[in-house]
């Protein structure tokens, strides 16, 4: 593996700026790494080698000409296959959009291109971002680089795995119920769900519009902040985009300081159903933050217990409405159009053939929750619970500056374990869902390996709306202290891909202790 693929985005940025290395060399090194390992990981649905090298060449010539370039110019990034790209297929992990070529770029895509970031390709995901394991992709699952027999989380599993496998230093995901934070946690990297409305949804194929949030995944907190800063900010093409200055997240990641900060441990996000090793690593993380000068208290958010059921009414309801656009008429798959069937019959046959089991479950669940006679008891009630969850957050943030919890109740589970048990799969998002319902920012940062299975555990830091910078500040402080304690970043302990001859063959100390 080339040294260029193990460097952070921040270091790559500095090396590119000082012309120690060219964007073409950096891009080629990552394409080589993808060719080497992606047959085993399957993080990518499409690798855009030609386009990436062309973009890299352009950055190199602009730099040679003395152009003033941003920090991500020449730095590779992997893009979740839910964002439209004019020069690459966009599938959302679904057969119904197999090989679809969108006629326009998503705002996130445009901003990455404008920043000079090199889009390596499109990453695998649960179909239409519905799932927690990437097993719901119509194109086969992604595997966890820590242990190839386990899931990488989801729905942004391809993005998380690409970063953890050193195929890309940065990746973009989307988070509707935890789909950035949960895969980041189980792949041992950092993932951030920004404040809802902070990042544009224009050109993001919709799952649940009131919850969907694009955000960064990276191997360090600073790298995630660099990516967020490059993509965030008001977009007139998205009516829900926040028209305010984006929080100064890069400065916050560099500040990395929790002295005097009030941290609340959420009572309801622990206990039964949580893996012992997850809870012990989480407790250690809280102790660590305390040792760095934070004031820790326990805070109760009583309605968080109802976040999961409320989410699984609200998200499917929005999904059943959003996915009605896949009607086999204007783009995508069309099945059974033999000249005798009606449009409605063709539509039903196409959706039957084009959607996977989980998408069908959610469309039907949403259709049920929105149907007359059930609307008040299900969707209406879930919306009230959403208000109560937001009020729990408000009350908590009256007492503390940030809230913390484990990111997920368990570490990465084996492939196939939960594919036919929807409720067990849904539990993976237990801790992440409240912040989607309330729209506030939340980040996941590695906090060690669970002793029982040696797999990564994530610490979640939740902040008020538009206080994204605070999440970065706390996560960066935890990351710095943990890295010092372990003697290396957590990911250096991963052996799933490069085996004993991998990055850090003599790692016998560190994160597992």
């Amino acid at each position: 593996m080339s040294e260029l693929t193990t460097m952070t985005a921040a270091d790559l940025s500095a090396a590119l700026r000082s012309k120690d290395v060219s964007a073409t060399e950096v891009t080629q090194a990552h394409l080589d790494r993808i060719a080497e390992v992606d047959g085993r990981v399957h993080a990518f649905l499409h690798v855009a080698a030609e386009e990436a090298l062309a973009a890299a060449e352009q950055v190199d010539s602009r730099r040679a000409a003395g152009a003033e370039l941003g920090p991500l110019a020449g730095v590779p990034v992997a893009l979740k296959d839910v964002f439209t790209t004019i020069d690459m297929p966009t599938t959302a992990g679904s057969r119904i959009l197999n090989q679809w070529r969108p006629p326009y770029d998503a705002t996130i895509t445009t901003r990455l291109r404008r920043a000079g970031a090199i889009i390596l390709g499109k990453t695998n995901m649960d179909e239409f971002a519905m799932g927690s394991s990437t097993e719901n992709s119509a194109f086969g699952p992604t595997r966890n680089p820590w242990d190839l027999s386990r899931v990488p989380g989801g729905s942004s599993g391809g993005s998380a795995a690409s970063v953890a496998a050193y195929e890309a230093p940065l990746a973009i995901g989307t988070d509707t119920g935890g789909s950035i934070r949960q895969p980041a946690a189980v792949c041992g990297i950092t993932g951030m769900k920004p404040t809802y409305g902070g990042n544009s949804r224009y050109g993001l194929i919709a799952f649940a519009s009131s919850l969907d949030t694009p955000g960064p995944l990276a191997r360090t907190v600073l790298d995630a902040a660099l990516l967020q800063e490059a993509i965030s900010g008001h977009d007139p093409m998205d009516a829900t985009s926040i028209d305010e200055a984006a929080p100064p997240v890069v400065a916050a990641a560099r500040q990395a300081d929790v002295a005097g900060l009030r941290i609340g441990v959420v009572t309801e996000l622990s206990g039964e159903g949580y893996q012992p090793g997850v809870l012990s690593r989480f407790s250690q993380a809280v102790e660590l933050l305390e040792s760095l000068g934070a004031k820790v208290t326990e805070v109760s958010c009583p309605h968080f217990r109802y976040a999961l059921p409320a989410y699984y009414l609200i998200a499917p309801s929005e999904c059943s409405s959003n996915l009605a656009r896949f009607d086999a008429m204007r783009y995508g798959l069309r099945v059974g159009d033999d000249g005798t069937r009606s449009a409605e019959e063709v539509m039903s046959l196409t959706r039957e053939a084009g959607f996977g089991a989980e998408v069908k479950r959610r469309i039907m669940l949403g259709t049920y929750a929105l149907s007359s006679g059930y609307y008040e008891a299900y969707y209406g009630k879930a919306q009230q619970v959403r208000t109560l969850i937001a009020r729990d957050f408000e009350a908590a943030f009256g007492q503390v500056d940030v809230l913390v919890s484990p990111t997920t109740p368990t570490t990465a589970f084996p492939l196939g374990e939960r594919t036919d048990d929807p409720m067990a799969m849904y539990l993976a998002d237990l801790c992440t869902i409240p912040s989607n319902l309330a729209g506030n920012a939340a980040i996941s940062v590695p906090c060690g390996l669970a002793p029982e299975d040696g797999l990564p555990v994530g610490l979640q830091v939740m902040t008020p709306v538009l206080a994204d910078d605070r999440a970065y500040r706390v996560a960066a402080a935890a990351e710095a202290a943990f890295t010092e304690r372990w003697g290396h970043p957590l990911l250096a302990s991963a052996k799933g891909l490069d085996g004993a001859s991998g990055l850090d063959a003599d790692d016998t100390k560190g994160a597992g202790r």
Partner: protein, 97 residues
């Protein structure tokens, strides 16, 4: 039992999903299980609590009405399953009788 098989058949029709018998046999008990689980929201005392449809308080956003170029017809039609005379060609939408 929170949902019957007949209701699931009806839901599939409303959802425009031509589910097969085997798939219905598989999905019906799963939907029943999920609906029973999400029905827990009904335990919450929420009388008088306003519903939240959106995370942020949004009001109508106004902007200048600017004329910008739109996509060309051939670009819009380039991914269509069927095209005729620069239009989307679709199966019949009216019944024969």
């Amino acid at each position: 039992m929170s949902i019957t098989r007949d209701e699931v058949v009806h839901l599939a029709r409303l959802s425009r999903l031509a589910l097969g018998q085997e798939e219905l046999d598989h999905l019906a008990p799963q939907l029943d299980q999920i609906i029973s689980a999400v029905a827990r929201v009904q335990e919450v005392a929420a009388e008088g609590i306003p519903p939240t449809s959106h995370a942020l308080p949004l009001t109508n956003v106004f902007r200048e009405d600017e004329i910008v170029p739109c996509l060309a017809a051939d670009v819009v039609l380039s991914e269509a399953p069927a095209v005729e005379q620069q239009r989307f060609k679709v199966p019949r939408i009216l019944a024969e009788d």
